[in-house]
């Protein structure tokens, strides 16, 4: 516990929900509004895991994950993508980009924490 989490979503409601759920579970949370914003955050915040939405303006989730994987110190950082569908092609795309796993929306706090435990302990 006490892990640092970066949560990226362009929806304010989603960001609020993530912050609440993760904060309650004892994680330290930083939020970003899209992939571009998240890359900026990664300059001064080193998360133990990243949760990112896929559909976002400026830089979407796939592009963001690919970019993160190109940064040496984040090569093995667990990244979970948030998706509303569990379609296989979506998972394949996320995996190809370098995602560690996915959380299918809607999620609740226990599901979120379980997914994080699966990838970050």
């Amino acid at each position: 516990m006490g892990l640092n989490i970066l949560a990226v979503d362009d929806s304010r409601t989603m960001r609020d929900m993530l912050a609440l759920a993760l904060g309650e579970a004892g994680y330290t949370v930083r939020l970003a509004e899209d992939g571009q914003d998240a890359l900026d955050v990664l300059g001064d915040f080193t998360p133990d895991a990243i949760i990112s939405d896929i559909n976002m303006p400026r830089l979407d989730g796939f592009g963001f994950v690919e970019a993160v994987r190109r940064i040496e110190r984040y090569r093995a950082t667990p990244i979970l993508v948030l998706t509303t569908e569990s379609a296989p092609e979506l998972k394949a795309r996320a995996r190809a980009a370098g995602a560690t796993g996915w959380i299918v929306k809607p999620f609740d706090a226990p599901k979120l924490v379980r997914a994080l435990q699966m990838v970050a302990g």
Binding site: G23, T100, K105, D108, A109, V119
Partner: protein, 656 residues
């Protein structure tokens, strides 16, 4: 100001606020697509993407709050937008129109969700239309896996990561921990594939595990653990094939602070601040007045400080006002929907052109503008626009254009609603007014005066009542609503070219221009918006009917006289002095009354303080204000004052 400690409720209301923004964004994008489809231009993928993301975010949030109808419908719309985005379909104008109607329905579902009422059904044809656009909708999440109910065979799981598992950021240790949490026993590591150290590639995978899990565990539970890695490991689960994870409903009530560039503040907090600033302004003016009465030198340092304080107070007041201000855009967009539905019902093609949507005004004004605007749009479509055939004959495009604009002018909000229809038929208006006895047969009326007949109660030119704007609700209702807001309404019309209604509204309802008057030694305020003219009573043509009733001729018509002091029971009628002033006012219903007061003292901006608590409802009084000298002045409601029974015929009104 107390706050229920329920973060989830806050989130929920935050979600609906966000939905409003998302719906607005969707509407904007669809409007752009509409324009592109009409010009047969290529659709901008970024615009489609924006629309998609808006619907997608609504769907995501709706799922979190269990709004299943909203999730379902949003999914259908999203599927179409996704196909558009992929270039699988090229939108025609009618497809975009369908999407716009779908957006309307999404808005309905959001409203129903916010109100906690049942989800409405979409209008006929929407669902079928959406389904027709995309053959074979994308499947939603696969159904949850099922297990044999009473299987007592334990699970045998074999798991061997591939190198790609590590590359994806997964860690077998955590998976094993999760399996141990499920009661895994007999965990064995298979290191037979491990090479000698010299041949070992640190980024390759050589280990595998075998373990046993209790029979009581469901396959789905175990499968969930491998959900992220099933494509990057070799996995066997004996007894049942791995199944999809199931979702379990749960609650979360945590507290953490989100980082956002803006904050949301409860309206009542802003109102409280507004109220306090009003008090500050009043106290500051009391201070100024008493210091100047005390003989303060206007050139002293104290006077200069006071001047600065006055300026600061005004600045604070202005900035609190802007906090309550909102752009008119959401209101205007709602009108787009009114127009579409009305146009469809009337069978008159029409489009709405918006200008100045970013113009900001107090949210109370926005809220109270919705009904009048809606009524005016229906009127414009029903009466203003000609049928398509008639328009073609007149050489106009078959599709009518309604233009809705907003702008700030001279410290007021000016909203104009124009159509490119046939223009007002003044002969017909006049004939209808004569027939209904609203004007005398020989009354000399100019064009502008004729146009204003539209706002008279009971006026109608409609031969038959239509569903749209008939049924006895006329423009007088619009006028009433606008007047109540402290607004004015004007008409410009050109035969064959169209009609424009122009509304001029105050930017806020918390301050207003008031004329401070005196009657029987008391101060009162008459709203300047209601005043047409002032004149010395003695100079007017006056006809008395007994001791109580009298009329005066002002602006070419007779208006009833109402002695303010007498109407409020402060003196008996007929005691007005030689210097008495008549103030011709117009009430919300258009009726005119000449208020009689002893003197006009001042005209200034006043802070409106509602009368609450023990005052109850004072007839003829709308609110109160505090003057610069600290005295309280009641704000008169001219229309109601005129309807009060006279001092001789009814109970006396006690006034403080």
């Amino acid at each position: 100001m107390t706050h229920a400690p329920d973060p989830l409720a806050d989130l929920r209301s935050g979600f609906f606020v966000e939905c409003a923004e998302l719906l607005e964004r969707l509407q904007d994008a669809l409007t752009e697509l509409e324009a592109a489809a009409e010009d047969a231009a290529a659709t901008d993928p970024e615009v489609v993407n924006t629309a998609f993301r808006a619907v997608h975010s609504i769907k995501g949030g709706a799922g979190a709050f269990g709004l299943t109808a909203l999730v379902g419908f949003a999914h259908r719309v999203e599927t179409v937008l996704d196909a558009l985005r992929d270039g699988a379909i090229r939108p025609r104008a009618e497809d975009v129109a369908l999407l716009i109607r779908s957006a309307d329905h999404l808005a309905d579902l959001v409203s129903a969700g916010a109100a906690g009422t049942g989800a409405p059904d979409p209008a006929a044809g929407i669902e079928a239309g959406l389904a027709a656009l995309v053959p074979g909708p994308r499947p939603e999440a696969a159904p949850a896996g099922t297990d044999a109910a009473h299987d007592n065979r334990p699970w045998q799981v074999a798991f061997r990561p591939q190198a790609a598992l590590f590359a994806s950021g997964n860690e077998p240790l955590f998976l094993l921990q999760a399996l141990a949490d499920l009661g895994a026993t007999d965990i064995r590591c298979d290191f037979a594939a491990l090479p000698r150290l010299a041949a070992l590639d640190p980024e390759d995978s050589y280990l595998g595990w075998r373990l046993t899990l209790p029979a009581t565990r469901r396959g789905a539970e175990i499968g969930e653990i491998f959900d992220f890695v099933e494509d990057v490991c070799d996995l066997t689960m004996e007894r049942l094939a791995p199944a999809r994870p199931t979702t379990t409903p749960g609650t979360e009530r945590p507290a953490a602070v989100a980082e956002t560039p803006s904050i949301r503040v409860d309206l009542d907090r802003v109102d409280r601040l507004m109220n306090l600033v009003g008090e500050l302004a009043i106290n500051q003016s009391i201070l100024t007045q008493s210091l100047s009465e005390g003989g303060l030198d206007a050139h002293s340092a104290l006077a200069a400080r006071l001047e600065t304080l006055t300026g600061l107070t005004r600045d604070i007041q202005d900035s609190v006002m802007t906090m309550r201000a909102q752009p008119v855009k959401p209101l205007f967009q709602r009108m787009g929907r009114v127009l579409r539905e009305t146009a469809a019902a009337l069978g008159k093609p029409a489009r709405l052109k918006l200008e100045g949507e970013a113009t900001e005004v107090d949210r109370t004004v926005i809220e109270r503008l919705a009904d009048p605007l809606m009524h005016m749009i229906r009127n414009a479509l029903d009466h203003g626009l000609e049928p398509a055939e008639e328009r073609r004959r007149a050489g106009k495009p078959a599709e009518g254009t309604i233009t809705l604009t907003a702008a700030h002018r001279a410290g007021r909000l000016v909203v104009e609603l124009g159509d490119d229809g046939r223009g007002l038929d003044r002969a017909r208006i006049r004939a209808a007014a004569e027939q209904r006895g609203l004007i005398a047969r020989d009354a000399p009326l100019g064009e502008a005066e004729t146009d204003l007949l539209l706002f008279r109660p009971g006026f109608s030119t409609a031969g038959g009542v239509t569903d749209i704007s008939g049924r006895g609700v006329g423009m007088d209702v619009v006028k009433t609503a606008i007047t109540r807001l402290g607004g004015r309404i004007a008409i410009r019309s050109e035969p064959g070219r169209g009609t424009t209604f122009s509304l001029s509204l105050p930017l806020t309802l918390a301050v207003m221009d008031g004329m401070v008057v005196r009657a029987a030694g008391q101060m009162f305020v008459v709203p300047v918006a209601a005043i047409l003219e002032t004149a010395k009573l003695a100079a007017l043509d006056r006809r008395s009917f007994g001791a109580e009733a009298a009329l005066v001729r002002l602006r070419g018509a007779f208006a009833p006289l109402c002695d303010v002091a007498a109407a409020l029971g402060m003196r008996t009628a007929g005691q007005t002095g030689a210097e008495a002033i008549a103030i011709l006012t117009v009430a919300e219903d258009g009726s005119r009354t000449a208020l009689v007061v002893d003197a006009i003292l001042d005209q200034r901006q006043i802070v409106v303080k509602p009368l609450r608590g023990g005052f109850g409802r004072l007839p003829g009084i709308s609110a109160a204000t505090i003057l610069g000298d600290g005295r309280i002045a009641l704000i008169l409601d001219p229309g109601e004052l005129a309807r009060l029974p006279g001092p001789g015929t009814g109970p006396k009104q006690e006034v403080a």
